[in-house]
Amino acid sequence: MIRARGLVQTFHTGQGKQKREVPAVRGVDLDVAEGEVVGFLGPNGAGKTTTLRMLTTLLRPTAGTATVAGFDVATQPVDVRRSIGYCSQVGSTFSGAYAGDEVVDHGMLYGMSKKAAVAKGHELFDKLQLDGLWKRMPKNMSGGQKRRLDIAMALIHSPSLVFLDEPTTGLDPQARINLWQHIADLRSKEGATVFLTTHYLDEADALADRIVIIDQGTIVASDTADNLKAAVAGDLVDLEVTTDEQVAVARDKLASISQDVEVDGHHVRGRVARAGKAVPGLLRDLDGSGVALESIEVVRPTLDDVFLTLTGRSLRDAEAAAEAAAAPADIADTADTARTTTEGA
């Protein structure tokens, strides 16, 4: 459904002597299969939105190629646009217009008749729990309702591929979880392929079949959440033994399935790939060696652990650094600045 090779986006900022090139995306390769839900994860400024804007034909790539729904983004942009739905992170409706009118007008710009757009709009309003809000203005809606309205806008023409750019940013936890269900329904009920950018670890974990991690304009990993965690970080197994003598035995037993065992008092810890399968055998070994455990804890790694291992930085730290630096490349990943810099594209 999406195939990108060597996608590059370089922005030009400043004037005169201040003029400089800022690489926002530095050679992205990407493959998304039909029916997949792919989470595009990275901190602010990583290049998520810029990549997405190239794939949705909103930005012409500086270099590289990409086909979306079988069409080339550079030479067949209109065909690409017909095939995709796009939900921008800043919204898509005018705050002073009626929600229903906005959805219908949007559908008509895709070539739908007014009658068909109205029918499809009402159907989407029902599915997205927006019933009764057809004549409501977005400025009088809650954050969650507005985001669901944006999704309705993106789905009005029944696209086979939907791009969601940070769909839950700014929502309260309850609204986020509610929206997750609707995003999950996009594939299960609408049959759509979904490509969503996010900087929320739990969101990518909960929604995506596969996670693509981008940092500083480069893809650093692409796999299922479980595989990424297992391959990069592994589960943390923490054994607590009852006596000093048992520490050495427990350390040796754990070392047989883990390469980085640490001892802290009566605690023996180590990273174990797929601990769910390995720990039962470990427990039998320990029992056979006469080691009595006070407690055992298995901690699943987070995507932040994955990001830390891959980049040497915590995702949260990377985000904070990006916001503090507010360099053009970083800012380019936010919708506003991406727009201000498109003149150079």
Binding site: R81, T93, F94, D105, L109, A335, T342, E343
Partner: protein, 250 residues
């Protein structure tokens, strides 16, 4: 072409619907020229007497052009609001023609200008303006073309600067010499020779002369200059507007 017309009509309808929800724009837009007509027009009576003819026949065309320029040049402000809310990006990701997104908004601006122009002309006739129907039609048509040019330029400027704080002073800087050198308020011939010669380099002055000439029934060489400049300005502004809509979206 059919697709373009359909798409621009959809955009026009959407824009019109939003404007009609807030009809204050017509009243606010009309207020300034109407006040000029009612409060400044009588002051012109002794001045215009030197040229001959009714002061409103002379002044209404100037007010029309002022309406066409100033009213339309503020069209871009609403575009910045739409851009900020993500509407422009949402439209750009549809297969609609980029020029249709611009023209749909121009139709709205032209309709608004037309309604205001009609009110101004009717008020002028009530106050004693003496102009032929044909002259009025030509004058209003030129005003609409000039207004379309200004609205297209305003939209292009809005999408270029994307900030009301930048746009307002830019418009002021452009508009001030236009107002002073185009003879909208008083004939340039009343001023010093150098000022009149300077005003010859101001395209809008020729448009004002043409609209005024149409109202007086003088379809001479100045009419050709005015019509020519109107079409040139319209063509350039639409080209600029369309280019900006396209460039933004690659």
């Amino acid at each position: 072409m059919t697709t373009f017309l359909r798409e621009s009509w959809i955009v026009f309808n959407r824009q019109l619907r939003m404007n009609l929800r807030n009809p204050a724009w017509v009243i606010i837009g009309m207020l300034q020229p109407v006040l000029y007509l009612l409060l400044f027009g009588p002051l012109l009576k002794p001045v215009i007497a030197q040229l001959g003819g009714n002061q409103y026949t002379w002044f209404v065309p100037g007010m029309l052009v002022q309406l066409g320029i100033f009213g339309a040049f503020f069209a871009g402000f609403s575009l910045i609001g739409e851009w900020r809310e993500g509407v422009i990006e949402a439209e750009r990701v549809t297969p609609a023609h980029r020029s249709a997104l611009l023209f749909g908004r121009l139709y709205r601006d032209l309709l608004q200008l037309f309604v205001q122009a009609v009110i101004l002309v009717v008020l002028g006739l009530v106050l004693g303006m003496d102009a032929s129907i044909g002259g009025i039609v030509v004058g209003v048509a030129l005003t609409l073309l000039l207004g379309g040019a200004c609205a297209a330029a305003s939209n292009a400027l809005a999408l270029t600067v994307k900030s009301e704080d930048v746009m307002a002073p830019v418009i002021n800087v452009v508009m001030m010499p236009v107002l002073l050198l185009s003879g909208i308020l008083l004939p340039m011939s009343f001023g010093a020779g150098w000022l009149e010669r300077l005003s010859d380099f101001m395209p809008i002055k020729h448009v004002v002369d043409a609209v005024r000439g149409a109202f007086f029934g003088d379809f001479d060489g100045s009419m050709l200059w005015g019509v020519g400049w109107t079409f040139v300005l319209f063509g350039l502004a639409v080209w600029w507007g369309t280019a900006v809509f396209r460039k933004e979206n690659a």
